[in-house]
Symmetry: C3
Subunit: 133 residues, 3 copies
């Protein structure tokens, strides 16, 4: 199992990790799957547009409006219940197709680490599997 | 890797693709996984009720209320930031169990392509893997 | 394919199923994946904090505020459209890394069955796969 170590810089941030993942894919993986797994509870991993950075701004801005930092009914004493919920909604893993040792993403897709309670040092696990060709 | 090509007809739509996926599953896959991967950033794939079409209406109607097309703080010039966020929340892949060459879904489950910025021609990738029996 | 049978006790509930999953993992799975698949349409499965139960309270309370039980535009006659949408947003499967026969989760992670329309008897399917080491 491979591991990526990431340093986030802001409370909420979408970090493009596409190239970091690509660098770890075994060259001899002709057809398969890369599983990216996030072992945290206030961060996640997703896929989205790799071109206009305004998309990332808009995603985080709207999530913040839907799920603000504090609510009168929150009980969790650490004050980061919003980050837990954002992570649940984004998800903790992505499944990525691999062909001939390369990620086979869509033209506009990048893979993003979603920091919702940073800045922190974070880790991601990568697992590779062969598929039927 | 198999590919499905879909033509959506509306701006937002849930297309039942269960039978299209079933038709591509190798007959000799005794026990395994079908990965369905969406290579787009304003569309996704999910699972939900295959009986009453009102469920699909309600899902899209509520998503539209939560995440309307425009917000004063959106910056992305294409005007489809809502579609990007809906896709992030729905997810870009599903994992489906396969037994004896057939999808093993729950009784009320169907697989749906989620169009959030249509109508467009869309593609889905399918990957098959064996599992431990 | 292994199966877990669960009895939920409340309309909405997050049940910790980490130990139930661990008990089914083959001892000889040195490096692999456990797929947990939910065959229902008003329940899901996710990962989150395994320490403070207030996190679970806050997750369900905020979801309830975002997606209340009834909306004037809902058409589905069973009255549980909210449960369908919550399940779509949470997701119907999780992918869990396995090393030497044990789940390799993050320090604060547990796996949760998400009941959104209970109480009911529910089932979960588990599939195991080897990965490249």
């Amino acid at each position: 199992m491979a591991e990526l170590v990431l340093q986030t810089r802001k409370p909420c941030e979408l970090l493009d990790i596409t190239d970091l993942i690509q660098a770890r894919i075994p060259n001899d993986l002709a057809c398969g799957i890369c599983h990216v797994f996030c072992p945290h509870t206030t961060a996640g991993v997703t896929i989205n547009e790799n071109a206009d950075p305004d998309v990332r701004h808009d995603l985080l801005a709207k999530l913040e409006k839907l799920i603000p930092r504090s609510e009168p009914f929150y009980r969790h004493c650490e004050g980061n219940s919003d980050a837990h919920l954002k992570a649940v909604l984004t998800g903790f893993s992505v499944v990525l197709p691999v062909v001939n040792g390369s990620l086979r993403l869509g033209r506009w897709q990048g893979v993003y680490f979603c920091e919702y309670d940073g800045p922190r040092t974070r880790r991601l696990n990568l697992l590779f599997q062969r598929a039927e060709e």
